[in-house]
């Protein structure tokens, strides 16, 4: 019962701040609302007893990536006056592509069978010891390959940065 109340509150928080993120005119405020969304999602992870994921979500997304976003937006100094002129054709294309994405998502969501309801507070799969064991025993190869992918992305970023 208690977990359900917390779940509903967190979901309302996530959806509400996601809407606020889209609705706010000022890009800096949009980013701040996005950070609130990340916090709500971390709250969901904690409800699922996945504390490691919750904290890593905050460290990586809220702590690092969003700071870089803020950096860029603050330096570009986007104000209401400097907002680019809106092109109606672009808006039209945007609405159509966004709508079709929503349609695809909805179709697949409808088709998926309802699995057993999410279990709160139980299960150890999200705790760090279990997660580490699984990652380094059952999924070593994908894990290493993804780290190589990250490394190549980093090298690519450095090369692009060095050229200028």
């Amino acid at each position: 019962m208690n977990t359900q109340i917390i779940f509903i509150l967190l979901s309302l928080m996530a959806i509400g701040s996601a809407v606020m993120m889209l609705a706010s005119k000022n890009p800096v405020k949009s980013i701040l609302w996005l950070i609130v969304v990340f916090f709500a999602i971390s709250g969901h992870y904690i409800l699922l007893n996945a504390q490691f994921l919750a904290v890593v979500n905050i460290i990586v997304y809220a702590g690092a990536i969003m700071v870089l976003f803020l950096f860029v937006v603050m330096l570009m100094n986007l104000n209401a006056e400097t907002e680019p002129v809106k092109n109606y054709r672009l808006q039209f294309i945007g609405v159509i592509s966004g709508g079709s994405l929503l349609l695809i998502l909805l179709t697949f969501l409808m088709r998926t069978p309802v699995a057993q309801p999410v279990q709160m507070k139980v299960g150890e799969s999200g705790l760090i010891g279990k997660l580490g064991m699984t990652l380094f025993q059952n999924y070593v190869l994908p894990f290493e390959i993804s780290s190589v992918l990250f490394l190549s992305a980093m090298v690519g970023a450095v090369i692009i940065g060095k050229r200028n």
Partner: protein
Amino acid sequence: MTTTFLLIDLPMILEKFVLILVVVMASLGIAMYTTFAERKVAAILQDRRGPNRAGPFGILQPLADGMKLFFKEEIIPNFSSKALFVLGPGLAMLTAIMTSAVIPWGDKVHFFNRDISLQIADINIGILYIFGVLSLGVYGIMIGSWASNNKFSLLGGLRAASQIISYELAMGISLIALLMITGTLSLKEMVVQQQNGYWNVVLQPLGFLIFLICSFAECNRTPFDLPEAENELIGGYHTEYSSMKLGFYLFSEYINMFISSVVMSTLFFGGYDVPFFDEAAHADWGNWLALIGIAALMFKAVCFIFLFMWVRWTIPRFRYDQLMHLGWRILIPLALFNMLVTGGVILYFFNK
């Protein structure tokens, strides 16, 4: 467990509430007197007397400072986002205090037939939680500096953000070596391990040195106080702030200093462990034992705070390129080297 609060357990909630209240109040009180100590230490190092008018030996000086800040006129600049301008110092204070939740302040005490653990939340990812809160600390400064609508403030905020991000990396890598040795992320367990074995500073001297330097940078303390370099940026990120909002920014720096002193004592200097003293043999001392533990932790923290001040009044500020050079070219490779050596030693000698 973090989810314990979901169960209806009134004594538990009450106990945690009292503990949170005590810890927050104590942190604020200690940070208050740290400002006083800073001025006294500066005075001693510069052969002056320091504040000595308010009360005996100037002991009421922090109260006078606080009153002065409260009674000053509050100015919110035009053309700035008012909500964000107020949010900035609030966030700075919040993130400064939030870290205290996972620190084990002492062993259990026994009151009203209940064993009360002197740690607000013994979560199994304690050290990662500290990192998470630390990485959020930059928002208070960035939001405040942007909302000020002042170029110097914004420059200070950007400096703070890039500095904190850069030094977080080296700090994290130096901690990985420590985590390899302890094999746990829970601060409580780390302290217990250090009580039964060596302090981690003996096993990880290089890691401790890197961690120490990085925590100076994270707290924006001299020689890393570029975000508020007075002679380059007027006042840095809090140029436009006045009254208690400025006070909160300055005050959060002292809370950060206190908390990071406590974290360093816990991670590397045994936390509430008293050296050369077997706690398990004196279990019958009960609450007094816990009190001795708290006193030991506080003593270690005060030593670190003194180190922070000593360095501030001894070493001049870095130049910005020197700061980045130290962070990226020296500390990160050094931390990686430390991590590799630690991993190699564990693999070669202690392979279970």
